[in-house]
Amino acid sequence: MTNDSLKPLHSLEGMPILRGDYLLSLLQAAVSFGAVSDSGLESIQVQLFTLLAEQTRRYTGGASSSVRTETAQHLMQSLCYTISVYLKGLNSHDAALQQLLNAQLPTLFDQGQIILKRRVSLAKHLLQMVQKNRILTPNLAYNDTISNGLPLFFRHYDLYYSAHESPGSVDYPLGYDRMDLTGVEAVFEYLSALRLENQFCQCFDSQLIHRLILCSNPSYAEDLQNICQFVLLNSLGRILCDKSPYSLWLNRTDLSLLRRLFSGKDAAETQNRLTAALKPLLGELHISSSAMEEHLTHCIANQADWVKYCCSNGMLQRVFLTNQ
């Protein structure tokens, strides 16, 4: 392959290239914009199939000259995932495409494997942090995910032949989760977010959190319910009422104020109002992490439609929980 295969006029920066299927998405974008020639594409295909042949030979230990098509597809998905992990790390679609066209695919695959091993190691470390800063709660999904589901991933994850798979059982829902990744990337991102949510919730009394959520959903222990969202909305509500966030509860007067604040606002304005209260909230809690602010901003965006709906239908007490 040579640089002739890439026509430099067509930049892929800013193109909607999927995180979850990066290699294929990148090539499809490159082909549709004429950034790669037919011969360049065929060269990549041949290299991929050669790599697949070698990987299949390793997989069978050389004891089988053929495999089921599903097995070959599975191995191909794992290969593409591994190469994608390396290409995404370049943080530039153009640079990724250049690598794809000019470097040897086995080299990109080897580099991808190194990154995957590092990611697994970091994810294991994140799990330990999550287990240390876990919230005290009776919620089954939360406890089972941290105690069993996530450790199971690390016991069964096969980064050589099934890098794209996510064994184990991760049932507990986050306040915000793009859910467009698989394999160790998905678990790493999940653990990063869960650690932030735990850290946020640790600013409040665990019994208080428990009583707060019970008020909204008496059976929350058995439900697939995110804990952080309750804490986030009520603490934002208290900030909007010019109160300290720590005691979490709101009263009827607070609810009337919030009703006036959100009445007649569309979802975007509702989101803006809540987001505007986030910085003061984090200031009160002495949290300065930009990652935390970013994650909670996404959590707010996730709740904006629900807040607007409840306000429009006279049900704001289902969003901002009162102890009266």
Partner: protein, 169 residues
């Protein structure tokens, strides 16, 4: 984008496989068996079709030669039916690769096929496919065949314990 292997490469692969199968004539002619270029081509096509029929993929087309060489000295292969029998054996091979567990290696299957073909089947590919190999697949699926090592392990442990008890007395 990756669902079809580039056709030009596929054609090249079939041509190379046919040439490789023809090179086996150097060995098989000692048993009075040879393939013509046309028969070799047909054999490769039968292999490709069998792979499609069984939904399998082969990246290194080595099983044809191994199959030819595994059966060439069978007393039940005649020059008149040689090519046709090989085509049938290829189909049977891929079919049973699917029926048997993945850990059942190519060598083990070829060995079982040859053993039955020359033995109880007396050269009948129908009996080979419909009786002997079917029984083998059933036996393995229902776990009637235990790996020898596991029964040896328990027997050895029992014997060791019995010996120890004898020495204690």
């Amino acid at each position: 984008m990756f669902s079809e292997f580039p056709l030009s490469s596929l054609f090249q692969a079939e041509k190379q496989l046919a040439e490789s199968a023809l090179r086996c004539n150097e060995t098989t002619r000692h048993y009075g068996l040879t393939l013509t270029p046309g028969q070799a081509q047909k054999l490769v096509q039968a292999r490709t079709q069998a792979l499609r029929d069984t939904n399998r993929v082969e990246f290194e087309g080595t099983i044809l030669n191994r199959l030819i060489l595994a059966f060439c000295d069978s007393p039940y292969l005649s020059p008149y039916q040689y090519a046709e029998t090989l085509e049938q054996l290829v189909e049977i091979f891929y079919y049973f690769k699917n029926e048997l567990p993945d850990k059942f290696t190519d060598d083990e299957l070829l060995s079982s096929m040859r053993s039955s073909f020359d033995g109880d089947c007396c050269g009948s590919v129908e009996l080979l496919a419909e009786r002997d190999l079917e029984e083998l697949a059933k036996a393995i699926r229902f776990g009637e065949e235990e790996p020898e090592s596991s029964s040896n392990q328990w027997r050895d442990a029992w014997n060791t314990e019995a010996e120890r008890m004898e020495n204690d007395e």
